[in-house]
Amino acid sequence: MFERLSVMLMKEFLELKRDRWAMFRLIVPLIIQMLVFGYAATFTVHHVATSILDLDQSQASRSLISHFVATSRFNVVDVTQNRDDITRDIDQSTATIAIVIHAGFGRTLGNGQSAPLQVIVDGTNSNTALIALGYLSQIVAQFSEDQSSRAANFRADTAVPEIGISLQARPWFNEGLDDRWFFIPGVIGTLTLLQVVSLTAFAIVREREVGTLEQIMVSPIRPVEFILGKTVPFFLIGLGDIALVSAFGIFWFHISFIGNPWIMLLGASLFLLAALGIGLLLSTFSRTQQQAFALNFFFVNPLFILSGFAFPIAAMPKLLQWFTVINPLRYFLVVIRAVFLKGVGFEVLWPDLAAMALLALVMLTVSVLRFRKSLD
């Protein structure tokens, strides 16, 4: 057993060493995807182009405008007194959002009444629009707080100050509600899954295609020995991937890692075993690398979408929710986010770890059983 496994591993190592592009292919796509996800896949919006129509020209209106100018969320492209300018800005997409300060705004506020503010939003990108509206209401709230506290100071001696209740949201585990903190751990799991599944499936199908698989299977080697020989290297590569991408997230994107590295290692190992199982299973269904490619595409994409990576599982239709139960990525994302951001341990994560162990066991067993038959 050990001897055959060791020559298998030696062979895999030599082939990898001879393949000049192997390291490039293994590492560069990971880094690039990490950067793309890290910078592009975010719900945070900066520099929303904004036009302001100031029909009031009061001190209050100028103060409000300065609030918008001061934040990086908005980029004030135009301050005008002409209604047509606003229409033109929105139509030509010079501005995504337009704010109209009606005449009398300052006077109404000065009287201690609430003054209306009109906001026009380009709804063609509903996502950005909604997010921008959210920021806008924060800024307006800030502004009115400033105004009323100033008013209160003026009248401190004559009137009872108003009691205002303001809501202060304080998210746990991700104080800045930075999307990267949510995305990066997910990216680590997803990229590793993609790489390990396709590497495993392709490596075995290539041996089948070239004919070396037949030459090996005619020897007294046991399927388990062959499969171990093929998968141990990818297990190690997968662990390397996770370590590399995690280090990138921690040191480049400054994601906090407050959990137990051993839990992370355990979760990563179980996850990788399940991923290897998927790769092996795909390989037993493919005769050629093209078929493996197609299968990989059809199976791995749903795994990605149905993992809770970006779209919450709780928001999916019931049927799809059921599918996520057999998706190892779903469990690993829970583990990796929890370890990175929450620092919770085994006592909380054991159901997810157990689910991955069970999936790995089932998939590996089925693929070993199918492997022998697939030669026919």
Binding site: E3, R4, S6, V7, M8, M10, K11, L14, E15, R18, D19, V210, G211, T212, E214, Q215, I216, M217, V218, S219, P220, I221, L375, D376
Partner: protein, 317 residues
């Protein structure tokens, strides 16, 4: 396995792929130390038969024993006793000669103290001295082929299955390869080797002719030549060939008529036309004959006649 038990025994061995029968009730018995040539056109079922005998494919019907072990139920034991060279070259191109040998030695668990000596033997047998550290994909065809043989015999199997080992190899290298096969047989190794080169059949102790999954004849090359034709063979130079063949195939005493290159090969049996009558007979059909001579039959003649003689052939338009 007792001394006189056959090394390879197939009984009604059959392989069906869905509804298609690739190997059809094949019977074969090969004695220890024999070289048997497996000959037939592409798609005849040679590779499929060899794969079943190696335990790579499960027979659909029938049974086979190799080295005394059943190929379906004792495949593991069969694998311990055989060497196999697949039709497609299948060593690792990115590994060197030595690394490939060491890999297969390890897979077959050749003892550590023996491996160096066996590798040395394989390298000298393949004529690869001085090329031990070359990547295999940079070797020419003949060397690759001999290295593949070297990898297949590293564990000293008593039975060798070689599936078209010489296809695509230049004639000089082919001859060298056959010399090696004869050396192994002299050491008592049983060899089943498939080929579609008819000339290679002469190197075998016995030949099994296979066509469309059926074994159509088996015997020594001279047996096949002598007995299978059912008459004497003549070469006829005439034109047009097609019309001549048609006229002759219905003529009395003609066992077979087939086009061979730019001539006609005609087998004449007893009680009908004889060689002297041919120019006259063909002349009546408006065919000009310039030469008729007796030729010794080649195995190709035998094969063509056997194939065209099978009843199925006549039924297929």
């Amino acid at each position: 396995m007792s001394a006189d038990a056959p090394a390879i025994l197939a009984q009604a061995l059959t392989k069906k792929f869905q509804s298609f029968t690739a190997v059809d009730h094949l019977d074969l018995s090969i004695a220890k130390g024999e070289i048997v040539g497996f000959i037939g056109p592409n798609g005849a079922g040679k590779s499929t038969t060899i794969r079943m005998l190696c335990g790579l494919l499960r027979p659909s019907e029938g049974s086979a024993q190799v080295a005394g072990f059943d190929v379906s139920s004792e495949a593991e034991a069969v694998r311990e006793h055989i060497g196999y060279m697949s039709q497609k070259f299948s060593l690792y191109g990115d590994l060197t000669v030595r690394e490939n040998l060491r890999f297969f030695g390890g897979i077959y668990r050749v003892a550590r103290r023996e491996i160096d000596e066996r590798m040395k033997f394989a390298i000298s047998m393949a004529g690869l001295e001085g090329r031990e550290d070359r990547l295999v994909r940079t070797l020419a065809g003949g060397w690759k082929q001999r290295l593949a043989l070297g990898c297949a015999i590293l564990h000293r199997p008593p039975i060798l299955f070689l599936d078209e080992p010489t296809s695509g190899v230049e004639p000089e290298a082919r001859r060298r390869f056959w010399d090696l096969i004869h050396e192994f047989a002299a050491d008592g190794v049983t060899i089943l080797v498939s080929t579609h080169y008819m000339d290679e059949a002469e190197y075998c102790n016995r030949i099994a002719l296979i066509d469309r999954g059926k074994l159509i004849a088996i015997g020594t090359p001279s047996e096949l030549r002598a007995h299978q034709l059912g008459g004497e063979l003549f070469e006829v130079g005439c034109a047009p060939l097609g019309a001549a063949m048609k006229a002759l195939s219905d003529a009395p005493g003609v066992v077979d008529a087939a086009i061979f290159g730019d001539r006609l090969h005609v087998v004449l049996g007893a009680g009908g036309l004889d060689a002297a009558d041919l120019p006259g007979f063909l002349g009546e059909h408006g065919i000009e004959v310039d030469q008729v001579r007796s030729v010794p039959p080649s195995l190709e003649d035998v094969f063509v006649q056997l194939v065209s003689g099978s009843p199925e052939e006549r039924m297929i338009p």
